[in-house]
Amino acid sequence: MASEQEIGVKIAADGSQATLVAPPGLDGALLTREMLLFQVKAAGILIVQEVERNVSAFAAAYGSGAVEHSHIIARSVPAVPGVDGRVEWNKGFDPCPEQVPASAVRTDHYQGQRYVPVKTGDIIGIAHRPTNGTDGRDVRGGVIKARPGKPVAITFRPMLTIDSGGRIIGQADGVLVLNNNELSVTQSLDVPGNVDFSTGNIDFPGTVTVAGGVGSGFKVTAGGDFHVGGLIEVADIRCGGDLIARGGMAGNGRGTIKVERNVQIVYLERVVGALGGDLIVEREIADCKLVVGRDLRCPEGTIVGGHIAVTGSLVVKAIGSESYTRTAITLGDVPMLQGARVTVAKTIQQIGATLRQHAEQARLIKLNPRPSPADKEKLTEISYETSQQNHELAKLATQLSEIETAVRTHRKLDVHVARMIHPGVKFHIGEWVVVFKTAAKGPLWICWDGQHHLMYKADSGIARPLSEIAQVGRGHSAPAAGPATATAA
């Protein structure tokens, strides 16, 4: 005969499962579902549908009771741990991208960009919050607490915001930097070594600082200042602020600079370029083609070879060399405006040619005493075109006049040579060409007098005609020395 005391419920120590045990020899007819559920409940098991189902199955399976019967009738529901917070980077914004394995695909390694530029408003990624997870329960109904996910390990600095949707938004132009789990946008780009294949070309909207040099074939474009610690080789340097170089630049005739403001450098050798501000050179400017928007100061150095156009003052220790190196300097002009002046003048010429063409076309049509409707329409077209071109011509004439006025206002002749102007040096000053056939010893100051005559002053301080120390003659004004695209002014 079945006895309630003989039926046991074993519960695992961690409450993860409960096993119902019935010894052999019990009366199967008395081993009912209800009796078993009573036993199970008495043992402290939470009765849920699954438990009821398992108990029913247990009762049915006991049968004649020939052997001991045991069966798991309850299991715990495990807790589901929370998911850790994470950042899902948008394409191109992963600050620590995985290295792409070398492939057979051809790549321009000069273009390889090893930093992540960010613009204001860029959505860098999504910061996913951690989840709390779902609690579980043991067989007695006790709560098994879920482990909540860990928050994102990265902290975001002020130049990044996170909106309600978790979007990480850049608040400034700069470079994305992840350092010690701090994500920030820095507005200056620091390159710890050289600009070479490890960095690729640099194109950055703010200040760029390169601890080393810039290798041949590379291009650095900085929206702000560009500081460089080492040698600049045959590179292309463009910068919206100042270029401060602690070394020199050896351009080999192909290295170029285009700087909106000042350049401070140790030496320039075979460099082509233009700058809007002052050029300060410590040692030497050798065989360069440069347009300087303001003053050129090289008080301890020499200008040898090449062609330099200077808008403001020129202060230099020596010009040319004892070996008669041909050195040309354009002065007394505003070379930065020369490009615009030439462009406008050329357009005016083109319009003039078009107008003459129109006038001739109209004249030929009017030779016919009975012009056809097509002729009349053509005449209307010509008349309209002529009117349009005349409007354009008037605008350009005003523009040209403004440029000429600006040139007259800004041009300056102020040359200080401390030591020597060597033979072979040529100055282009407005319509004048000044050729030094013999050495002119410094200190010398070359300037205009009140009547715009070319004068010089030596030690005595008395102004003398420049023609006394150099051959002065009328000549064509020299072309701009640097790139025609120079726009800084």
Binding site: P373, K376, E377, K378, T380, E381, S383, Y384
Partner: protein, 126 residues
């Protein structure tokens, strides 16, 4: 000022639009023939119509007759190479308000437009 320009020549339409741009037209609609113009003119509701005479599908004179036949009073300037007096009279009788003979200069067309609009305003005020 809203102006409807009707001419089969795109070049000529562009020229007229260029002139209109200098005299403060606020909206310009174009059509390449009289029939197209007739189907769209009411929707555009112009203050002035500049109409070429010789066009395919429907010429300018047929447009004028249809338009005036529908009791529409928007001023129309005929811009055409048709300079003979009899043709001008025919157009005026059909309801054209003014006449610009090609070839015209931008200045002369501007003046014709201004005169026409001034007359239309006076008539409206009266």
């Amino acid at each position: 000022m809203r102006v409807f320009v009707v001419d089969d020549s795109k070049t000529m339409r562009n020229i007229v639009k260029g002139v209109l741009g200098t005299i403060g037209a606020t909206a310009i609609e174009e059509a390449g023939d009289g029939q197209d113009a007739l189907s769209r003119v009411d929707a555009f509701n112009p203050d002035l119509i500049l109409m070429d005479w010789n066009m395919p599908v429907m010429d300018g004179m047929t447009f004028v007759k249809n338009y005036r036949g529908a009791k529409k009073t928007t001023p129309i300037i005929m811009v055409t190479t048709e300079a003979e007096k009899s043709r001008v009279m025919e157009a005026i009788q059909a309801g054209v308000n003014n006449y610009a003979v090609k070839p015209f200069t931008p200045e002369s067309l501007s003046k014709i437009i201004e005169t026409t609009m001034a007359k239309a305003a006076t008539k409206k005020a009266a």
